[in-house]
Amino acid sequence: MRELLGSGLSLFAKKLLAVIAAVAVVAGLIALYVADWATSFPKTVAATTAPVNSEATTLTLETVASAGKLSPTKPDWVTYSVRTKGRWVRSTDFSVPTNSLVHVTIYQFDSPTGLRNPFLSQSQGTVGPATLDGKPFNSIPAEEASHTFAVPELGVFVPLAGVPEEAKHPCEEGPCEPSLFDHRTITFSFRTFRKGRFRWQCFVPCAAGWYFGNGGPMQTLGYMDGFIDVV
């Protein structure tokens, strides 16, 4: 066996080897970058345990027309965000316990866009009726929908009514504090019955400027789509 890196190598071979080594290092760095990019998910936010009932958990969400500070790279994308540890965080990956009741409260700051499929204007799959600004509702007029919160695999579809265009204090960009700006409050509860990872999404074509309103934020994890991890 010839000594691989010894004097047995010609100068040419050594040069080639150096080039190959450099290429391998660069390729390795690129591969690491790609792997890092490919495996990035939004940070998972665990639902907080409800104070009254230890079997139930709560999720507090808000929807804003423009992410603003919530998304430095895409400040004008419509987005959901979640309240955790007293702050609004743009994450759409929630973990909730299995066989439990999840109470969801959504502060909705966006104006109406209207549903593409008006069928989804009916609230479905919730435990008890959903409420809009404190009043129980069964459905809303399709054109008043601003977003929906839907987990199709769990059968949950809840339309979120929009803030009227003539509102006095609309929130231009996130994060929005419910105490400061006009909003609609939607609450509902659903039950988790098996472990798994379920996607949830918005069904209103709310991504303004994109074909059929379904591009950009509607198709990028972390804005209008996410996962519910039932653990």
Binding site: N117, P118, F119, Q122, A150, P205, A208, G209, Y211, T220
Partner: protein
């Protein structure tokens, strides 16, 4: 060492292997081939798959056995450098080959076409005006695809729309598949139905379920981020159960039905564009 008659020997091997394997494949594998026999169309596809598999088996055996035979018999002796015989072709064999493959291919094409029309599209999406439609009463059901869920509408029951497909057993169903945005594909695997959902297109497929069961619905055309998650479960129920179910559904989804536009073959969504 006298050279054996390779042609005769290999021919015998192949014929015997095909005679054994082909019936075995048809009898053993045929009945369990996908997509199963849950509908007339699916059963027709199973028949088709069985026929194709029966035809493919001798071809597969011919080439594979030949490769094995050649590798075993036609070798360069170790250490030697011998030239092979300078055979440059065989007119009779070539003609036979061309004739046989042509006959097989034409048979397949004719068979496929006949089956396609005899089974009224064999469960495939056959465009807005299918060339053949089954006679007799049909239950029209609209499949509405959108990013990323299927919903189903029953025009003959007040245009009620539901989130999961329920079909009556033993009735010819006329599926009208359309999309509200990008291209999807409605695939009910056990029923042997696949039809692309195109925006502005009414793609019709016929299916007649033949047993009470649940079936899987999946989207089979890449439609964006939740393409893989766009699945749900449908049911085939007895006709009486179907009538009960649809009456309940009409009541349960009454609030949504009142918001729906009138039933139409396609829906014209506003293609909001970038400039907006």
């Amino acid at each position: 060492m006298s050279e054996p008659n390779h042609a005769r020997r290999f021919g015998a091997i192949w014929v015997v292997a095909s005679l054994i394997a082909t019936p075995l494949v048809i009898v053993l594998l045929g009945p369990i081939l996908p997509p199963g026999k849950s509908s007339e169309q699916a059963a027709g596809q199973v028949t088709d798959n069985t026929v194709l598999l029966g035809m493919a088996t001798p071809v597969l055996l011919l080439v594979v056995l030949y490769l094995i035979y050649a590798v075993i018999n036609f070798r360069q002796p170790k250490g030697a450098v011998l030239e092979g015989p300078a055979i440059r072709g065989d007119a009779r064999l070539q003609t036979t080959w061309i004739v046989i493959t042509s006959v097989m291919v034409l048979t397949l094409a004719v068979y496929g076409s006949v089956r396609l029309f005899a089974d009224n599209g064999a469960g495939s999406g056959s465009g807005p005006k299918p060339l053949t439609t089954p006679s007799g009463p049909k239950l029209p059901v609209q499949v509405i695809a959108q990013q990323w869920a299927f919903t189903y509408r029953y025009p003959t029951y007040g245009g009620v729309e539901v989130p999961h497909l329920v079909l009556p057993d033993n009735r010819m169903i006329e599926l009208h598949v359309t999309s509200l945005d990008v291209i999807h594909s409605f695939w009910a695997r056990q029923l042997g139905v696949k039809a692309d959902a195109n925006p502005q297109v009414d793609n019709v497929a016929f299916v007649k379920p033949t047993r009470v069961q649940t079936f899987e619905v999946r989207c089979a055309e890449l439609c964006g981020i939740w393409h893989g998650e766009m699945f749900d479960t449908g049911r085939v129920v007895a006709p009486a159960a179907f009538n009960t179910w649809i009456r309940q559904a009409q009541v349960a989804y009454a609030p949504a039905t009142k918001e729906l536009p009138p039933y139409s073959k396609t829906y014209q969504p506003n293609p909001a564009r970038r400039g907006g």
